[in-house]
């Protein structure tokens, strides 16, 4: 194999081509403003990204199984709020967190069961979920934030700074990535997910319980969203009712930038991790180079579309070189 085909084979991998875009983006911001790669800025990026990336991992799993979840932002807000209310009632913080995570699973299962049994698009089920769970957070708190003081042992476990550039959040992010990767690529459940999302009828004809597969993925999505919200609230020591607003679209964007198909059946969690860092870096880089703040969303929208096009372009180009 010569060097040219080796590079071409590598670039056809979604993870590799999006990494190339990531490197170009970093170089671009760095060339404009050297402070972009200062210790302080890199530190912030590494600290903030995981709590928003964990929900994107859950969304990726669900998208591979062929469904959407628009409710992750609301579940991201509801979970810490639910835990905060329980702790206010005097329930032990650890128990509160455990119960909260179980409630998140139940929320996901509910989305899944409704989608599968009523056979309506998950876009609708979770759009409803998005409004309902946000509504619950607002109704319970009257729109006011709540304190979220966790015991030091819990903080050490979730948001502790291990050493330079290494936070517990990152370790959780990578651990969940590895677990999801193993499920997806090395476990039979991953084969069921890909076949359910790729062609449900084919999977069903081979005796795969596609409803069960989807419901489990809905559960993973809500669980990941709730856990991300708990990390953020632990870091900020407060639970805000509007926490995670718009996160559902960020999560889908990260997955799609990373190469996950909007039509199901194909995707990678490692691509989502890179996609997540890419969208955080774009956001952060625009701040660092002092892009006018009112233009912010506009820029991000344009850049996300460009990133996806560039990613596809690199992959197609690589395929042509090989052909």
């Amino acid at each position: 194999m010569n060097a040219r085909t080796l590079v071409s084979n590598l670039l056809q991998k979604k993870e590799v081509s999006v990494s190339v875009i990531l490197a170009i983006t970093i170089l671009f911001f760095f060339s404009i403003q050297q402070k972009f790669l200062s210790n302080a800025n890199v530190d912030v990026l590494l600290k903030i990204s995981p709590e928003l990336g964990i929900p994107a991992l859950g969304v990726t799993m669900l998208m591979i199984a062929g469904e959407f979840d628009l409710s992750v932002g609301s579940v991201f807000g509801l979970a810490p709020m639910f835990a905060a209310v329980m702790m206010e009632m005097g329930i032990n913080p650890w128990v509160s967190i455990l119960l909260t995570l179980m409630v998140c699973c139940l929320i996901g299962i509910t989305h899944g069961v409704i989608t599968v049994k009523a056979s309506i698009p998950s876009f609708i089920t979770t759009l409803g979920g998005m409004l309902i769970w946000r509504g619950v957070s607002l109704a319970v708190t009257g729109g006011l934030p709540k304190y979220f003081y966790m015991p030091p042992e819990f903080m050490n476990l979730v948001v502790h700074r291990v050493t330079t550039f290494v936070y517990m959040q990152e370790l959780w992010f990578f651990a969940i990535t590895i677990i999801f990767f193993i499920i997806l690529e090395r476990h039979k459940f991953g084969n069921w997910m890909a076949s359910t999302g790729g062609k449900k009828e084919a999977a069903r004809a081979m005796g795969i319980n596609t409803s069960m597969v989807k419901i489990v993925c809905f559960m993973l999505s809500s669980l990941a969203a709730g856990f991300g919200g708990i990390i953020q609230s632990t870091r900020l020591s407060q639970a805000m009712p509007n926490q995670g607003d718009g996160l559902e679209f960020d999560a889908i964007a990260a997955a799609v930038i990373g190469g996950t198909s909007l039509f199901g059946g194909s995707g990678t969690v490692i691509g989502t991790v890179i996609g997540e860092y890419l969208s955080r870096i774009i956001e952060n880089g625009l701040i660092i180079i002092r892009a006018p703040s009112y233009y912010f969303r506009l820029y991000i929208g344009v850049v996300i579309i460009l990133a996806v096009i560039a990613n596809l372009y690199i992959q197609r180009k690589a395929m042509r070189v090989r052909g």
Binding site: K188, W192, S195, G198, A202, G265
Partner: protein, 247 residues
């Protein structure tokens, strides 16, 4: 098993879909080692009859005997356990997945790793290559995505999968649909090879010219009724065509 023992007998099968009376008391028999052509116009009930045999729908009335014993299927898995495998029209394979992952879809090979079981990808690859070469399809890379295969090769993968899992009866729903002439003849060759290995098959089609050369007998369905069973040597394409269009 002696020659001509029925492997499958379906008796007086009825099926309604709401107000549509799809099957109106159909009898259907396949003897062991036989290739049966199931023909009829669109909407005649061919696929419905076979979906009942594959365990996808239960019949509303009627009995199914497999190797002489009465059976009832609550899911495709039940039928597959007995050795009834189906290659459905256009939905046999997941095109975004690799050949190996398709062949073992729902019946993955596993190995013990630490506390749990993970996929035995290496064996899945090896066995896939073996299964494909058994039907004369040479594939060097079992990681090839099915989307990149030709239509004939895809049918080959689906047939190889059925053979690998020791099928006794293979149901092929329109296996030559959307295939080129060359690819169709390849699929017909696969079916002849099945018969040589003693595997019965049902070949559903509306293309008489494909089924006639390979079938031992031909069953004509029309408007949910069995219009007759024809031994190949006692009939002709023209005669069967008349049967299909007469009703």
């Amino acid at each position: 098993m002696p020659e001509n023992t029925p492997i499958v007998r379906m008796l007086n099968i009825h099926k309604w879909f709401g107000k549509v009376y799809a099957l109106r008391g159909v009898d259907f028999t396949v003897n062991s080692g036989e290739v049966v052509g199931l023909v009829g116009d669109n909407g005649a009930g061919k696929s419905t009859l076979m979906k009942i045999l594959a365990g996808i729908y239960p019949p509303d009335e009627g009995k199914i005997f497999f190797e002489g014993k009465e059976v009832a299927f609550s899911s495709p898995k039940d039928a597959m356990k007995l050795g009834i495998e189906t290659i459905h029209q256009d939905i046999a394979l997941v095109s975004l997945m690799s050949i190996a992952r398709n062949i073992f879809m729902g019946r993955e090979l596993e190995k013990q790793v630490g506390f749990g079981k993970l996929l035995d990808l290496e064996r899945m690859r090896e066995e896939s290559v073996k299964a494909l070469s058994d039907i004369g399809l040479l594939v060097t890379n079992p990681d090839t995505i099915v989307e990149n295969l030709s239509g004939g090769e895809r049918q080959g993968v689906a047939i190889a999968r059925a053979m690998y899992f020791k099928t006794k009866l293979l149901i092929l729903d329109e296996p030559t649909n959307n295939l080129s002439v060359k690819e169709s003849s390849r699929v017909l060759q696969f079916i002849r090879e099945l018969r040589e290995q003693g595997i019965s098959s049902v070949f559903i089609t509306h293309n008489l010219h494909h089924v006639y050369p390979v079938a031992d007998k031909i069953v004509v369905l029309s408007h949910g009724k069995n219009m007759g069973l024809f031994k190949k040597e006692e009939t002709s394409i023209e005669h069967i065509e008349e049967m299909i269009t007469a009703a």
